[in-house]
Each structure stands twice: as C-alpha cells, then as structure tokens.
Amino acid sequence: MAAAVVSTNGVATPSDWQDRYHHIDQILDRPGPRTDPSFLAGDEVKDFLRNSCKILVIGAGGLGCEILANLALSGFKDIHVIDMDTIDISNLNRQFLFRPADVGKAKAIVAAEFVMNRVPGVKVTPYYGKIQDKDDDYYVQFNLVICGLDSVEARRWINATLVNLVDPENPESLKPLIDGGTEGFKGQARVILPTVSSCYECSLDMLNKPTAFPICTIANTPRLPEHCIEWASVLEWPRVHADKKLDTDDPEHISWLYTIAAARAKEFKIEGVTWSLTQGVVKNVIPAIASTNAIIAASCCNEAFKIATSSAAYLNNYFMLIGTEGVYSYTFEHEKRDHCPVCGNESLEISINREWTVERLIEMLVEKQDIQIKKPSLSTPDKPIYFQSPPQLEEATRPNLEKKVADLVADGGEITVTATTLPFNLSLRITYT
C-alpha cells in the first residue's frame, strides 16, 4: 500500500493515518465565537474523544444505522449499541448497513460488524436484547446516550432511568440524553440534560393522540376500511384462532386478516381495504425514508460531538423539522414541566368530583394525554385501592372500583399509580370539588 502511515509507538497502524481527521481537527484545534471558554483545544480534547469517551446508541434501525456511521467518522471509538430487533426486508429502503442476505439476523450485531469493517479502529459493542435487561451499573459507564427509537415506552424507560441515575454530589452521574425521531418527511431531535432541562416525560403531551376506534363502531357500524381491518384483527382473530397469537410480522397472518377485512368491507359496501392498508393498521406502520433519518441522526450525532468536545454551543434544546412543504424547521427551548412525574419531584395535583368512583378516576387517568398509561394500579401509602394483577389481588380489590374515591382518600391525600407501561411510580395529590 502506497499511503503514508503514522506510526504510534513505532508500529505502523492503518487506523490513524496522517490527516485522517483533517476536517474535524480544524474544529478541535481552535475555538469559534460560540465556543465555551472551558474548551480544551488540541490534543486534550482529541484524546478524550478518541480514547476515553464511551457512548451508547439505543436502536440500530433507521436512525441507529445512521448514528453509528456518523459517530464512527466523528472520532468516537468506543461505541455500544442495543437493539432487540431482527432485520426485515422493509428495513432495506433506509437501514443502509443491512443487505438482503442479512434479513432475519440481529440488527445490533450486523450493524456493529459493518461499522467496524468500514471505519478502522472503531470498536462497536452490540447487545441484542432489550434496554430493560440492563441495570444502572450498565448505564452509568457511558458519557452520553443517543436514542433512535420508534417506541414511546422505551423512550420513557431510558429517560426515567437516566433521570434516576443523577446524583447531585457526582457530576459524572449526569448523562446527556440525545433523542431523535422521524415520521415521513418530518422529524425532531432534542438534547435532554436529565434533571437540568426538560425531559422526555415533560413533553409527553406533544405526542399525537393515537387513533382509537370505538369497539361498537368496529362491531356494528363500520364506515371506513380501517374499521373492517380492526374487526378482523381485534374481534375475528381471537374468535377463530383462540390462543394462537397474532404475529403482525407474519405475512400469512396479514393475508388472513386482509381476506376477512375485505369480506366484511364487501358486506358493508366499504371501499379501500388493501393488503398494504391492512398491514399499516395492524402494525401501526409509520412511513420512513432514508433522507429524513439522515437529517435527524446527523443532528443527534452533531450534538453528541459538540457536547463531548465542548467545541461549540449545543442545541437548546429542541429541533423540529417539517419537510413536506418547503423546508420548515423550528428550534426552541422546551420548558421543564413543574409537575413532571419523572424530573419534577412533585406530586401531580388532580382535582376531581367528590362523587367520583375509583373506576371513573381510572378512566380519567387512561385518557390523560400527559400521563399515557394503559392499565393503572392505584394505592394509598398504606393500602391498595385497585390492582390490575396478580389475579387474586385484582379480585380482592375489585369491589373498590364501585366505591367513591372520597371514601378511600382524604382531601389532599396521596395516591400512587403504577402500571407496566410506566417506568416510575406516579404520585397524585387528590383534592375534591
């Protein structure tokens, strides 16, 4: 090979050839007008970035593939990645580290290998599994965490975990969390400094409300093709297949639903049931393209680079992009929510009618956009009110559903809410009107 190679401790290594970081070093060798005075230009910052900084990437999908490639080129050399998914053919229009022959393999493992092969000297450590498999000791080892996830539940979990990790006595315990998300031509990237700036939970009410169709419409008065598809998946599948679980990744299962939905649509003279719509409704498919993922992932990695090196000011704290009509973006500071159940340290104040039953309170909690829980269990500091599981406890507490909340909790009293989808205990302070 003709190229010149820089030798470190006398051994030629192809991994850090001369001028490899010519572009990035222009930034790292001197400050700019918007660089914090604490910036240690030159060898010190390069050494931290390339030899000690440890970064975690959550998700090796549409955003994750882009994030891993960008981080590797930016000079991060100790990268870890977690993903519980395997590669599907529909990933290949954007998840550019995967090839048709990789379909069925673990995303985290294939992505890690690809990046290590392409960018010499970078170590990518994959974990094929769930983020919930790991504990605080695992997360505390990283300097930064970047999320490229498509699930609200996983984001809430990692957000709550990193907030809980913060020890005010130990600045190292604060792990900046950079979160990205996309849908079609739209996307957002944000920087969360747990306990310091607005966290994921603080902004939960910005999410679109998921579309839910009333069961009576689905069962009796369908109008839309979606109603017919829901009928097939929610009512007909369990009726016909009993205990066999619906696998929305199995094309045979989708085909079955499609046939059933199409027959129902015919009966009701409803147009528009297609294979693609059936899959879209039952899997809650979100349109996704390479270009939007590239923008959002680049933005996340750029923030990680700036935070890790202090080479320039970073995003404060939310970037939103809408690319459907021209290029429209909006950068703003999302404010912390005073009563954020994760980073706010205060109980959520809830004022309810004195006549309300426990069941009515549960209904209200399920509908609340800023809480987003499915099956909440409630208790006071000294006794259970209603528990969804285990079955014995559910049965024992079921009579309380009919009782008035006011008979169980004093005015100004506290209720603790737990749910499997809630990665923390939510504390409510109840007052009556």
Binding site: M1, A2, A3, A4, P14, W17, Q18, D19, R20, H22, H23, I24, R30, G32, P33, R34, N70, L73, S74, I89, S90, N93, R94, R99, R118, P120, G184, F185, A189, N220, T221, R223, Y258, K266, K269, I270, E271, W275, S276, G280, V285, P287, I289, A290, S291, T292, A294, I295, A297, A298, S299, C301, N302, A313, L315, F319, G326, V327, S329, T331
Partner: protein
C-alpha cells in the same frame, strides 16, 4: 373501464378483487410507498442523477437517493482518494481506498446499497465536458454539486439556466458547522402537493342529489337511533336550507346569526348525547365559508401559456386550461373531490352519503374531461381533479441572482439577519477561495468582500461575527455530521422535485449546526 387502475368504478369490483401478498420489491419499498405511492416510485426509477465530486457530502446525498431507488447515478470526479477523504467519507473504505479513484470507489460502495440502481464513475474533468460536450448534461434529470469552485460553478449554472431542456441544479456549500444549498430550476409544477388543507364539501352550494337527500329526511319522526347517525354534512345542508327559507335566501352572516344557527342545530337533538349534532355544530362554519375558486388557483389561470395552448404544450397546462373553463360553469367552483372525510354516523348513512359524493364527482370529472382539447391519461386527470385545490406552479431563479440584487440582500439582512449573514459569509468564502485557493481567508478579507457585495454604506448585523468566526476557524472542513445532515436535506428536496410530489424549498436553505437551525432566504 374508466378511471385509474386503483379507483374502482363499481362496488362489486371494488370489494371482490383480492390482492395477493406484495412482492419483494413492494415489501422493500413499503415504508416510502406510503409517502409517494407507485407514481412517485416510478418517477424515481426513471431518474438519472449526476453528482459532481465524490465528497462526503455528495456521497451522503447519493446514499439517500440510491436507497429509495433512483434509476441511475453518475459521479463525475477525476481526483484520487486523499488521506483526509478516507477519514470523513463512509463510502470509501478508509485506509484501503487511499490513492484510488474517488469516483470509482464511491460508486462501488454506493452501488452495494441497492441492486436496482445503476451507478457509473466518470473520471473526466468538468471543464472538459463543459467545453466540448455541454449537451451531455441534458441526459440527466438533475445535477448536484458540492463545494464546486466558484468560476466553474458559474459556468455550469449559466449553461443549465440557458435553456429549459437542461435539468435543475442543486448547489451545496459547506464550511465547518455552516452550510447552505440552493436548487436552480426554471419552473416546477406540482399536482400532488399533499396539502393539509382539504377541498370544499360544498355544503353552502349543495349539488342536487345532496340537497334532495337532506330535504327528504323527516327529522321529527325519525327513529331515534337513525337520528343519532345522520352525518353532519347532511345535518348542515338541511339546517342551512331551512335557515335560508326564513332569511330571504341568505346564510347566517352576523355573529349573532351564526350563534343562533349553531344553537338551532343543537336544538335539533332528540337525545342529549347525539354526537353527530355536536359535530355539526363544530363544523357549522362550513355553511358561511363560501365555496369558490381559491385565489391561488385562479391566479394560475392568468398564466400566458394558457392563451397559446397547442398540441405540444405540456399536459399540465392543458389540464389547467380545462380547470379554468370548468370554473366558468355553474357552480363556479373546482370539481368536487370524491373523498369524504370520516364523520359520526353508521354504515348505511355514511356509505349512502359517500356514494352521493362519488357519483357527483364522477359526473363533474366527465364534464372536466369534455373540456380537454387533447387526450390525457386517466390517472393524471384523476389526480388533477383530486388535488385541484392545491396545485402549484413554482418559478425558480438562477443560482447567484440573489447576490447581485443589493436591495433584496439588504432587505433580507434586516428580516432574517442570521440566515442572511451566514449566506453572505459562505458566498464571500468561496469568492475568496476562488481568487486565492491556498490562502486561508481572514475575517477582515471576508468582511471587505461582503461589504463590496451589499454596498459600502450598509451596516452589517452583529450575527455576522458568529458566522465569520466559524468560517475562519474551519474554512475547508467538511464535518461528517454536517455532510450527513446536508445529505438528508438535499436528498429530500431532490425527491420532491423528481416525484413532483410535496413542495420543494425555493431559495437558499441556510443551515447553522451550532445552534441547530435552518432558514430559507432569497426566494
């Protein structure tokens, strides 16, 4: 059958033709087909993209075009891979690529992303092609450049602007955390703009079958379940007609009348929980928002090309002329959209109303087609009728025009100081680099150049300091994250131009990745 392949004419056909499982190609592209459908995909697959230089940024743009499946790309680059190229471009194989042809290496690695895309490396120089074979550029759908030297860029942009048979040109510039891009195009016509505004339901001007249906209902003696399922459209048409009879044929006008009208709707409830009447009250504004041709659409009718229409005119203008003629007939509105939004109702009431709209829309489409003077394929006619309320003709500009319009620059500086400052700083950088490629520009030199562009007396905003400081810090730095960001941004715009769907940006899109903002100026 009439109508397009995906619009079924009779209910039997619409509900019995079962599709089989999608093939591998459809599965691969599923997530994007949901955005631009088969028509957009087919436009992408017929496109040929020329990219000048295989920089990290250019390779990122191409990656985001090869993945969704363009037809062909050519990388024009005579350079060989340098040490620094190998460090910042994911589509080079690091150390192993050093010294090899940059175009060939990038084409090889980009081609691995999608078997359906043809890639070609061309190692000639741009100068030689401009001099000897300018017509070659006309074989491409779109041309992309990144950090191209100023003099040759001017030559290229002038050539591509000289005749509208030449393709659009995307010009990308970046230095450190700052960047901008501009797409030079003559004109861009959009039918499927995917607008979020919905077409009129014509509640204020109901077509005969709708009016007849609304008047036929016997609200007072109707079965209560049935009463709770009348769609709001029917309720409103009926209530408005009843109101007009009592008010000399006029709809509610004053605030008090509108309030009275809404209360009248709620008073029609026979049970307090009839959500369809609540919905009707919430949608009551439709009774007094007049259905007419939107001003943006009627403005298109004055396009001079409609006056000189001939058999060789583009289909878009034939469609536009027919649309204009359609709106000159009663009810002086755009053709009815066949799509009815969802509303509180039951199956029979909703489907009945949907059929009324579909039948009327078909009839109006027939009238529309009779106004066409040349044959045009049905799918295009369908698309036009569906999107008539959101058509767009975008006029583009030549790259660089903005920098020669002093008053526009000065105005832009006061309206968008940080965006314009960043644009001026990047322009000045490339002007200076073009004059003296090997001398890193100083803040003073850049400032002097900017002042000469916008005029000596013009005061420069303080935001310019932020931009100039960054330019001087890293005048030739192509940061991987900035390259990736631009790669996504430019590919999005290119896709919108190729598919003629959604609305591309018009002007300079300026990007600052320190504070992380984007802004469009010079449009």
């Amino acid at each position: 059958m009439t109508g397009s392949s995906h619009e079924f004419q009779d209910i039997e056909e619409a509900t019995t033709a079962l599709q089989s499982q999608p093939d591998n190609k459809t599965r691969r592209y599923d997530r994007q087909l949901r955005l631009w459908a088969a028509s957009g995909q087919s436009a992408l697959e017929s496109s040929r993209i020329l990219v000048i230089s295989a920089s990290a940024t250019s390779s990122s743009v191409l990656k985001n075009l090869v993945l969704p499946g363009i037809g062909h790309f050519t990388i024009l680059d005579h350079a060989s891979v340098s040490h620094s190229d190998a460090g910042n471009n994911f589509f080079l194989e690091g150390f192993k690529s050093i010294g090899k042809s940059r175009a060939e290496e990038a084409v090889r690695l980009l081609s691995e992303l999608n078997d359906g895309v043809e890639g070609k490396a061309d190692t000639r120089t741009l100068e030689s092609i401009l001099d000897t074979q300018p017509e070659w550029f006309a074989t491409f759908t779109l041309v992309i450049t990144h950090n191209l030297e100023q003099t040759i860029l001017e030559k290229l942009s002038s050539l591509l602007w000289s005749d509208d048979t030449y393709p659009p040109l995307a010009v990308i510039r970046s230095a450190g955390f700052l960047a901008e891009f501009f797409i030079q195009f003559h004109e861009h016509n959009i039918i499927e703009s995917h607008s979020e505004t919905s077409p009129s339901l014509r509640i204020d001007k109901p077509f005969p079958a709708l009016l007849e249906h609304a008047l036929s209902l016997d609200l007072s003696s109707m079965d209560p379940t049935e009463h709770g399922h009348i769609p709001y459209v029917t309720i409103l048409v009926r209530a408005l007609e009843d109101w007009k009879k009592k008010h000399d044929g006029n709809p509610p006008k004053s605030y008090a009348e509108k309030k009275e009208f809404k209360q009248g709707i709620l008073a029609l409830k026979v049970k307090y929980d009839e959500e369809n009447f609540d919905e009707a009250e919430a949608q009551a504004y439709r009774c007094w928002s007049e259905t007419k041709v939107p001003s943006e659409i009627s403005a298109l009718f004055s396009d001079p090309r409609l006056a000189s229409l001939g058999p060789t005119s583009p289909p878009f203008f034939h469609l536009l002329a027919a649309l204009r003629d359609f709106t000159l007939l009663p009810p002086y509105a755009l053709p009815l959209s066949p799509t009815l939004p969802d509303m509180k109702s039951d199956t029979n009431n909703y489907i009945h109303l949907q059929r009324l709209y579909k039948t009327q829309a078909e009839e109006e489409k027939r009238v529309f087609k009779s106004l066409l003077t040349v044959p045009i394929e049905d799918s295009l006619v369908d698309s036009l009728v569906k999107n008539a309320h959101a058509l767009q003709i975008m006029q583009g500009k030549k790259w660089g025009t903005f920098d020669s319009e002093k008053s526009a620059l000065v105005n832009s500086l006061s309206v968008s100081p940080k965006e314009t400052s960043t644009h001026l700083a990047l322009s000045a950088l490339f002007t200076l680099l073009s004059r003296q490629p090997d001398i890193p520009p100083t803040e003073e030199a850049l400032r002097t150049e900017i002042q000469s562009v916008i005029g000596q007396g013009v005061e420069l905003p303080e935001q310019l300091d932020d931009a100039l400081g960054e330019i001087v810090r890293a005048p030739t730095a192509e940061l991987p994250n900035v390259a990736a960001f631009l790669g996504g941004m430019v590919a999005q715009e290119v896709i919108k131009i190729i598919t003629k769907q959604y609305v591309p940006a018009n002007g300079y899109c300026v990007i600052d990745l320190i504070e992380t903002w984007t802004g469009v100026i010079g449009n």
